[in-house]
């Protein structure tokens, strides 16, 4: 066989392909070099803005940590991958764990992705600090007693808080309710929690319509028409994405929100898009765990808000805070474990142990991980107002509740817990 030039080129071509294979042989020296944190952030689709927001919080935390000398002297390095479909995200998680050999992974918003990542984290023996991505139903099944997964607050915390506020402000002022919620576990969990709490408070509200548009829908004309027909006194919605302003705008244009009470548990996720033109005053609006104009904000929160506004020309929302907290909690746990080990770099098991119960200063005040790996934070909601310097609504007064109050405690079923309330 004569080795022609062409053939030679072809063979070198094979070599090039082989070289391009992602070879995961980068040796990681456990005690030196940077601390590697893998990030899973959504980039496309309806989750993209949220993923972006979480990433900003992570970036802010990382810059501060590195400016202050890193974690026990080691620089913190981020390896960012994309959160997409559950299958693809598990593969990216695997890359972070096996190929990049990260010390922990932070990220993930979608419930479906979260359910896939839980077992993957246990299997890969890699710490995973979720930004969101929790649900009643799936979690118990796929993450019974997780070792490596650390979860966010429960899905329905904001429904619980909004329901308590609803009862406080409007008990006796409405007889019929309608729900319009995104068609997936988050929407269903929140609506069910709302109904259970109304019952607990003795509010005999009749459900006149239950609508489940697809997450991220862009047209609600038919839904609005159905709601106008149903004539509810109160509309409950846990929209959190671009669908929120679209729904509000179309509802306003059809005159739906003029006399109807509105509860938007999570609309604060896209607060800047809730323009005064179509978002009424006097609605209950939730910002999850971070409100950018909290009068009692810490210096840290103010600094972050300023940084965010300058850098991105936007006011920050809650996902940044989730992202921020996972990073600082990880750092705090390492330092806590190192102290216990006499200053030596801790083992992974020691870090996990230290994460349980660790407390750190988040953008919304102190937060911690419970011993059962669930986040404990403060939530912010309130009644909308037009009296501000923006073209969108804000809340006044700002009410805050801790998850100690609005999240089910460890080991108790959600509805058992609600039914056990004293009201």
């Amino acid at each position: 066989m004569r080795l022609t030039r062409r053939r030679f080129l072809k063979l070198t071509g094979v070599g090039a392909v082989a070289a391009a294979l992602p070879l995961d042989v980068v040796p990681v020296l456990a005690q030196s070099g940077p601390v590697r944190l893998g990030i899973l952030a959504a980039r496309a689709g309806v989750l993209a803005p949220v993923g972006e927001s979480g990433l900003r919080g992570v970036q802010f935390a990382t810059d501060r940590i590195n400016a202050a000398g890193g974690i026990l002297g080691r620089r913190l390095e981020l390896i960012v991958e994309e959160e997409s479909s559950p299958k693809d995200t598990v593969e990216r998680f695997r890359k972070l764990a096996l190929s990049d050999k990260v010390d922990a992974v932070s990220g993930a918003i979608s419930t479906g992705v979260g359910l896939a990542l839980g077992p993957a984290a246990e299997e890969m023996k890699t710490i995973w600090l979720a930004w969101d991505a929790t649900t009643q139903k799936g979690v118990e099944e796929s993450m019974p007693k997780p070792k490596y997964s650390f979860r966010s607050t429960d899905n329905e915390c904001e429904a619980v808080m909004a329901s308590i506020l609803t009862a406080r402000h409007w008990k006796g002022k409405f007889k019929t309710v309608a729900g319009i919620n995104p068609d997936y576990s988050y929407g269903r969990d929140n609506w069910a929690a709302f109904l259970a709490i109304m019952k607990k408070y003795g509010i005999e509200a009749q459900v006149v319509s239950e609508l489940w548009p697809k997450l991220g829908a862009t047209d609600f004309t038919s839904h609005v028409a159905t709601l106008i027909q149903a004539k509810p006194d109160l509309i409950f919605s846990c929209f959190w994405a671009g669908d929120t302003p679209i729904f509000m705008k179309q509802a306003h244009a059809a005159g739906l929100t003029k006399s109807t009470k509105v509860v938007l548990t999570t609309g604060g996720g896209v607060h800047e898009s809730l323009k005064k033109d179509f978002t009424p005053e006097g609605a209950i609006l939730g910002y999850n765990c971070f409100y950018f104009e909290n009068p009692k904000a810490s210096a840290l929160a103010k600094e972050f808000t300023r940084w965010h506004a300058e850098k991105f020309k936007e006011w920050p929302n809650y996902e940044s805070d989730h992202g921020y907290f996972t990073v600082v909690a990880f750092k705090a746990a390492i330092e806590r474990a190192a102290k216990a080990a006499g200053g030596k770099w801790p083992t992974q098991d020691a870090i996990i142990q230290a994460l349980e119960g660790v407390e750190a200063e988040s953008l919304s005040g102190p937060r911690r991980y419970r011993e059962d790996h669930i986040m404990e934070a403060a939530f912010f909601q309130g009644v909308t107002t037009h009296r501000n310097r923006h073209d969108f609504v804000t809340i006044d007064p700002v009410e805050s509740m801790s998850t100690k109050q609005i999240q089910k405690p460890s080991g108790v079923g959600l509805y058992d817990w609600i039914n056990g309330w004293k009201v």
Binding site: A20, A44, K87, D183
Partner: protein
Amino acid sequence: MIVRALGLIAGAALVLLPLAGVPYTTTLLLPAFGYAVALLGLNLLFGSTGLLSFGHALFIALGGYTAAALTGRFGVRSLELVLLAAALVAALVAVPIGLLCVRYVKIYFGMLTLAFGMLFYSFLYKFYALTGGDEGMRVLRPMLLGRPLEHLDTVAYLTGPFYYYALGVLVVAALVMRRLVGSPFGLSLRSIRENAAKAESLGIGVRRCRLAAFVVAAVFGAIGGVLLVVPTGLADPLLAYWTHSGNLVFMLLLGGFDHFLGPVLGALVFILLQDSVMSLTSYWRFVFGAILAVIVIFFPRGLMGLLDARRAAAS
């Protein structure tokens, strides 16, 4: 000649890869194996029969959900049984769908299959109680050849026994498909692709052959789907979404639909390319869209076509 030599080198590399101590690359190839099996089937439909399905992800999802239901709900952990069941379910579903679809060709066939894929996606997404909605269904780790392999952790399981199992399934699938393509049935399909009226006038039952190809493609799709969800541990509705079907066709075109091993090459290259481009830029969709556009416009015969052309030029 060159193609064969390259194939041998690649085959040897695949067999030896788990021993190279690169666990991530090894797990990365698992979905490529699953896709390769599904694409072998899809290519019987497109490459041989000339019908381009834009809903083939339906059968991948069907295989995935069958695996989830069997391992998760009914406690059937034997992968051989799961594969068999997935093949059966796919065949059962493919017959009625195929009966409707194979009456049409070209873009009408494409659109009808797309509609069926989206119908199934909507079903998975909306029928919460049955399918878990957006959360999907968990797939538990199956036994291989009756061996539970519980002593292995997941990485060892995936990069060891399951890797070879999946590779084995792919090899068997490829051998079966080669037999099919080289059989009288395969020739009948090609004659239908070339000129259905002429084939009909020569006594070929055009619709029956198309239906058979559709069902075979579905079975391969479901088997690929099972291999695909075991490493992920989850079957979710996005498996059936139209963009997933689009990706399948992308892989097929990338590899080259008129060569028997084109689908396998397409799956491998797609997965490796996706992995590296995703790590390089968050705008990987743009890169992939551009690659696809270039292939569609300038190189419709894919990588295998390029290899062929160079071989032709060299000789």
